[in-house]
Amino acid sequence: MTTKSNLVEVVNLYKTYSAGDLEVHAVDGINLSIGEGEFTAIVGPSGCGKTTLLNMIGGLDRPTSGEVNIDGTPLSSLSESKLIDFRLKKIGFVFQAYNLLPVLTAEENTSFIMQLQGKSKEERRARSHQLLKNVGLEGREKNKPTQLSGGQQQRVAVARALASRPSFVLADEPTANLDSHSTSNLLDIMARLNEEENITFVFATHDQRVIDKAKRVITLEDGKVLSDERR
């Protein structure tokens, strides 16, 4: 398996929030790089800065200082609207909750991101069916989110994250609202996609089951990297 070692490069990253007189160093000088095909978990206690780090890697939030390079593009060089287009093209997102548009069916939720990219109707249809099948939701294409369980909704979110053929997928606690069965199901699917299609996943989690599946575990504490182990 060929890997690019520098798909994501985080250089001297800081994010400081000031709450009153108090300064919170949510991300406090992080350096790391993530290569293609990695299956990386970012772990650590609540408040250690996982979400903050992930948001900056995903271009959802701007760092106080430092740089994030994606595929060689420094995110700080992109304007707000360029950054939105960049996210659409390069990054797949799975959020903790409220991932799906309640007014769209599973299939439409998967395909609308391709519609934003201007893909043809046939391609959208074929790909969203394929992706929903890959996450085990064949036959549920016409269901609205309210007709799906929490785990099924997160699987639709994974399918959608892949629909745009992103460079990698960012998932912030994708299993936080799921029971153990749904969690292992979702993890199996992500692990398989990583194995079979070499899709890069980066996720933040507290969940031991997720950590167990990861090939690389980056542990944060107080906004700093405490350990970075590959298995």
Binding site: L88, F93, Y98, N99, V103
Partner: protein, 404 residues
């Protein structure tokens, strides 16, 4: 198109709110359009009775006549001018008149009256035939009087009444003329205080042969009065000797009372617009708050704010257009109905209106400009208020929105 589909689904998503918003726009539109149609219709009918039935929408006089309505301010008849004015587009008729004042007496009763010399052949305002109660519709060698005056003087067709007045240049103007017809006029001035005699007879009695005090011009109700007025002025040419006046100028009190009443209606409409604006603002505040996370998520995924705004704009437009269109469509048969079957006032209201010289009927106006104006205002208002949703989309930061 993705935006259209999202907007459409969003409208169904919170059906009750969509329905209430459309209903609110509709209700405001319905109330305002009905109110303004009835008001405007009433003004039209008021003008028709007060202006169209006697004065005429335009008059030509000797300069200064309207300020001092004396027979001495008369001018020489010009049949060729009357012909020319009659052929101006929008002019329906030109009535030559010689008007003066006289005391009218029968036995031991008398009453001061306006005496109108009319030419039955050319008379274009007075509708005598359909209001005739007794006798003949033409004065001939006698006089036509209103029902009120006939009652007051206690005369019947065939009785002769005495005229005691003064004519041109102070000549005495006395006559004994037989009553040829009794007419029931709506206007109290005409009904109680006016006598109509033949123009030639008037010129003879008032010692003003070949003289007129006015050409009263009737115009097509659909014509642009200002344009007709300009054309007539053009035809009259010699404006140093004549004055050409529209009814607005001749009857400023009528214009004022209409404007005052109309201002009340516009104020009411304004209040309704303000009320509806707040209700719409509430809708859009709720809508934006409810979708904050979703908007944050979509922008996070890579949807442009402009695309989201377009969705919100389509939603707002759909609700606005629905509500406004319903109001326009549903008020239409209603105004048409009340145009053909005017509201009839009875009892005290009827008496009050009669006293003011108005017919006690109130037809609705079917002028399209009323529903179209207010429909457009409603749509414009809704879209303006929906800017709230646009601005909140503009301001959304995905990270904060999803965290909340």
């Amino acid at each position: 198109m993705l935006q259209l589909r999202l907007a459409w689904r969003n409208l169904w998503r919170n059906r009750r709110r969509t329905f209430i918003t459309i209903a609110a726009v509709f209700f405001a539109g319905f109330s305002i359009i009905s109110m303004r149609s009835l008001q405007t219709g009433a003004y039209g009918s008021m003008v028709r009775t007060m202006v169209g039935s006697h004065t005429g929408f335009i008059q030509v006089h000797q300069k200064g006549y309207w300020d001092e309505k004396f027979i001495d301010n008369s001018f020489e008849e010009r049949p060729e001018l009357r012909e020319e004015m009659s052929s101006v587009p929008g002019v329906m008729g030109v009535s030559p008149r010689l008007t003066s004042h006289s005391l009218i007496a029968f036995e031991d009763r008398s009453r001061p009256a306006m005496v109108d010399g009319i030419d039955a052949e050319y008379e274009a305002q007075l509708d005598i035939e359909s209001n005739l109660i007794a006798g003949d519709s033409k004065p001939g060698d006698g006089v036509l009087i209103g029902q009120g005056m006939a009652k007051f003087l206690n005369v019947e067709v065939g009785d002769s009444v005495v005229f005691l007045g003064s004519g041109y240049h102070g000549m005495s103007a006395n006559a004994l003329l037989p009553v040829r017809g009794v007419v029931r006029f709506t206007s109290p001035v005409l009904n109680d205080n006016t006598a109509f005699i033949d123009l030639r007879m008037a010129q003879y009695v008032f010692a003003a042969p070949g003289m007129l005090t006015a050409y009263a011009i009737n115009t097509d109700p659909n014509a642009d009065l200002d344009a007709v007025l300009a054309d007539v002025t053009q035809v009259v040419q010699d404006t140093s000797g004549y004055e050409v006046m529209g009814w607005h100028e001749m009857m400023p009190e009528l214009v004022q009372s209409i404007e005052a009443d109309s201002a009340g209606g516009i104020l009411m409409a304004g209040i309704l617009y303000i009320v509806i604006s707040f209700s719409l603002l509430g809708t859009f505040i709720m809508l934006a708050a409810e979708r904050k996370r979703e908007y944050g998520m979509l922008i996070g995924l890579g949807m442009r704010r402009g695309q989201l705004m377009r969705v919100a704009f389509i939603e707002a437009s759909a609700m606005a257009i629905m509500g406004a269109a319903l109001a326009v469509v549903i008020t239409r048969p209603l105004t048409l109905y009340y145009y053909y079957n005017p509201i009839q006032f009875t009892g005290q209201a009827m008496e009050a209106l009669r006293e003011m010289g108005m017919e006690p009927v109130m037809p609705a106006s079917i002028d399209w400009s009323i529903p179209l104006t207010h429909g457009s205002i409603l749509i414009f208002l809704t879209l303006t208020i929906s800017l709230y949703a646009m601005i909140s989309i503009k301001r959304i930061q995905p990270v904060n929105a999803m965290r909340s």
